[in-house]
Symmetry: C2
Subunit: 398 residues, 2 copies
Amino acid sequence: MLKVVTVYEAIEIIKNKCSHCSIGTQSVGIFDSIGHIVCDDIIAREDIPPFDRSTVDGYAVHSADTFGAGESIPAELECVSHIKMGQPADFMINKGFCAGISTGGMLPEGADSVVMIENTDEEFGKCLVYYGVAPGENVNKKGSDIKSGSIAVKKGTKIMPAAVGVLAALGIYEIPVFKKPVVAIISTGDEIVNTAPSSGQIRDINTYLLDSCAKQAGCDTIVYGAVKDDRNLIETAVDDCLSRADAVLISGGSSAGKMDMTCDILDKKGEVYFHGIALKPGKPTIFAMADSKPVFGLPGHPLAAYFVFRLFVKEYLNTVMCMETESHFRTARIAANIPSNHGREELICVKIDSEGNAAPLYTKSGIISVLSEADGFIRIPRESEGLTSGTEVRVYRL
Amino acid sequence: MLKVVTVYEAIEIIKNKCSHCSIGTQSVGIFDSIGHIVCDDIIAREDIPPFDRSTVDGYAVHSADTFGAGESIPAELECVSHIKMGQPADFMINKGFCAGISTGGMLPEGADSVVMIENTDEEFGKCLVYYGVAPGENVNKKGSDIKSGSIAVKKGTKIMPAAVGVLAALGIYEIPVFKKPVVAIISTGDEIVNTAPSSGQIRDINTYLLDSCAKQAGCDTIVYGAVKDDRNLIETAVDDCLSRADAVLISGGSSAGKMDMTCDILDKKGEVYFHGIALKPGKPTIFAMADSKPVFGLPGHPLAAYFVFRLFVKEYLNTVMCMETESHFRTARIAANIPSNHGREELICVKIDSEGNAAPLYTKSGIISVLSEADGFIRIPRESEGLTSGTEVRVYRL
């Protein structure tokens, strides 16, 4: 029954099994789009900018007319017009001529560059240019920002201000996005209560912690609440959640006997693909598919449950929403020796100190407050026999 | 009228003037709390864990009884009970005795450590211990995670899973948070349209971009929309927004004449504290207070408007919600020479390459797509005469 896998194997299994899960798509208005995940490549149907656009206030010119111009020998051009903002520049600039233009204004045909107003004098329709500009100088060429036909926003992109800016530039105000996956959350444990705990009891942390993890990852949640370690109660909870959610998280039951019970329940409803990961913390983790939906058995310890969400539940979400696996966000040298981890990959919270080194935050398992202190975590490979102070490591975001 | 300030001066002015702005507080349920900013230090009223708690399955012992125990010379203890999860351990362990305990179970009085079950044998009420444990081994001591009376979550903390976990552990389900600041957004410009642009016109980007920036920063927004460069229309817009919002953002009007008009309007309604920042991009920025509310005049160029939000509007939000100014998230060596920046601080989008170096993404001003490509930005100080390739720089989050 015990199928222990490595972190790599666990992720491959989750990716593989969840690649057939579908959570559906929808269209959201641009003002409600932040945080949603784009479900199709969004193709630009326009050039941005839609015309050659001045980046300064000045005069649109033929650059060749200004070559060699300087303070003592200005080029003299005839100013034919001043281009109004928001108006077409529907005339032609011939050699020897120029037109006044504001920042953001449209270059008239013929002009290929703009001389900044500071480098000119205008008198009686004559413009003196004291500075030679290169072709294209002070101009955003049509399509230089975004080309019509190119992919403006990739499938799997989380919509943040950058994407909103691109979509607004293109006039795309309805965005095709994935529906928010609905994740149901069950906590189990005879010691878990939602009232003031009596002696020996402890408050339910995982329900709230996993709810916030899921929301942060862009999911909607169903909170089933805390369930005692009773086979019938847990079965009922799993059935109810499977009928209403896209995925089920059931935490607790980290000791061998309880884990077996959860595993047994899931094995009867569907198929258990692994039951234990060579990972610390996070060993007592189960992954099963039931009703074509993923069910994750997470450790009862909050920190371990957090990491299992971060590494494995997030991988399910990445898979169904075509997102890339998040990479490390920086490297750092570890600030202390880290001893061997006995053949399991080890995850350690770190704080980046003032010198930019990663100081490991050692904790006994079960501790929650360390998450608040940490700036990220590092992964010590399974094969490693420990790391010496000063070793460069990758730091991952919490 | 032109009051150009440095970035440092601008931030000091904003902090100073906005320290008197109040946006009010409210209480939110823990399930709705993610992303909110805590408005008071939250004090722990309980110890976490609330009792000495085992981190493994095994036997609670007096560690002294196991000193010197090994494979060949086990310590022999009498097992008095098996502690049930969620039940008080309301008996005493005397020397020479032990009690069975599960992960998360409560240590009985007298016991100071737990021997893992793998290191024991139990037969006929006798427990053979093959491993000597140190005092406190495999135990989370009462209050070791969070001490009653300590600050569990600091004022100004953005609520993320780590804080949710701590609050749930303490049974704090109603969280005192700041109300979401309401930010009103106005775009100006004769060339700005919300329909398919004709020749010379361009779509409104800043309304959407700044709306998403504000939402990402935890604000509610009022979208006033695009306004032509007309004094009366802009005045009406500012009045309307001041009456409904906590802060007003008015973008566009980057050319000298238009900026003067916005500045003039704001100077009549309140007081303009600066009018131009020695910053590239972002020079044409205005900060005023009117009706005791901050009004930001932002550049028309989307990238510049984005940076001004990121550096200055965010500083207002940090000030009113007691948040710390975000620091750089990593350092990197720049991958190319960066020429001088003419006495203005310069912000440059960078992409972290596969070697971990920061490659500058050069763009002409007005370009929006660069934001999607970038991993962060760097700040080139005003006094710098340029940076040579390989210089270590701080990289800030976008």
